[in-house]
């Protein structure tokens, strides 16, 4: 759908949506949101872009295969779940927290990294699925 209006709008919506998705991701621990919704919004942003500009453009924008985000995100989540075993001898998934207030984010702990992993996986999964379908004959 190569319409000028959609293309232009999507070029401006893309960064806004991405920003919004990270906003949703980071506030998740305190307010509605989190890795899932955040990831979904980010993915939707790219999907919108691909509708407007064609898949090729969106892909070249990403520079790497979205599929790569899946193992990366899984690894991030997995290791943040594993970190208490490695660093504290606590059971899997036990929260490790930096004691002190970090601006913007509030408390920083393994849960945050876990949620980031979720975010990456969701983006990777959604984009892989949708891009694959779009490319399919």
């Amino acid at each position: 759908m190569k319409t000028i209006i959609l293309r232009t709008a999507s070029n401006y919506l893309l960064p806004v949506l991405l920003l919004f998705s990270i906003f949703i991701l980071l506030r998740g621990h305190y307010l509605p949101g989190g890795g899932f919704v955040g990831g979904l919004i980010a993915a939707i942003a790219f999907v919108l872009h691909s509708f407007a500009n064609g898949l090729k453009n969106t892909k070249s924008l990403l520079r790497f295969h979205p599929g790569f985000l899946m193992p990366a995100g899984l690894a991030l989540s997995f290791f943040s779940g594993l970190s208490p075993i490695i660093f504290a001898g606590d059971p899997f998934m036990t929260g490790l927290w930096y004691h002190g207030h970090v601006p913007v984010l509030g408390s920083v702990g393994s849960a945050l990294f876990f949620d980031m992993g979720v975010y990456l996986v969701v983006v990777g999964v959604t984009l892989t699925i949708i891009f694959t379908i779009s490319e399919a004959p």
Binding site: M1, K2, T3, I5, L6, V16
Partner: protein, 130 residues
């Protein structure tokens, strides 16, 4: 203050209602799109304005602001797309419409939109021929 909020909200609600009635009453798809995009966007904008004033704190205000902003950004694009698609799938204009400058300008297969009618009529989207 509450009265002011009440008025704003009432206005917003009326615009939403207006859009709904418009959606029912308008005779063709393009007119419905028209009503939808405007009245509802304005109505919801007003409603959310009321909400912002009601809570009167920064977080609510910024949220309502963001919602309205997003609506204003996306609604017209959506309207454009669905209007365009309607034209392609052959939704006719209301029979009392005055003119259709778009007739014969879309190319059926490439979906290219021309500014003037050219000499490839068989490929053009023309509702009168459908």
């Amino acid at each position: 203050m509450n009265i002011f909020i009440g008025v704003v909200i009432t206005l917003g609600t009326l615009f939403v209602l207006l859009a709904a009635v418009g959606l029912i009453r308008m005779p063709d798809t393009y007119l419905r799109i028209s009503v939808n995009t405007k009245a509802a966007t304005l109505g919801v904008g007003l409603l959310l304005g009321g909400v912002a004033f009601y809570f009167y704190d920064l977080s609510t205000t910024s949220r309502t602001f963001v919602i309205v902003l997003f609506l204003f950004l996306t609604a017209p694009v959506g309207a454009h797309l669905i209007g365009r698609a309607s034209y392609f799938i052959g939704n006719k204009l209301w029979d009392q419409s005055k003119m259709d400058d778009l007739r014969g300008k879309y190319q059926r297969n490439s979906h290219v939109l021309k500014s003037e009618i050219d000499d490839t009529p068989e490929d053009n989207v023309d509702h009168t021929k459908m």
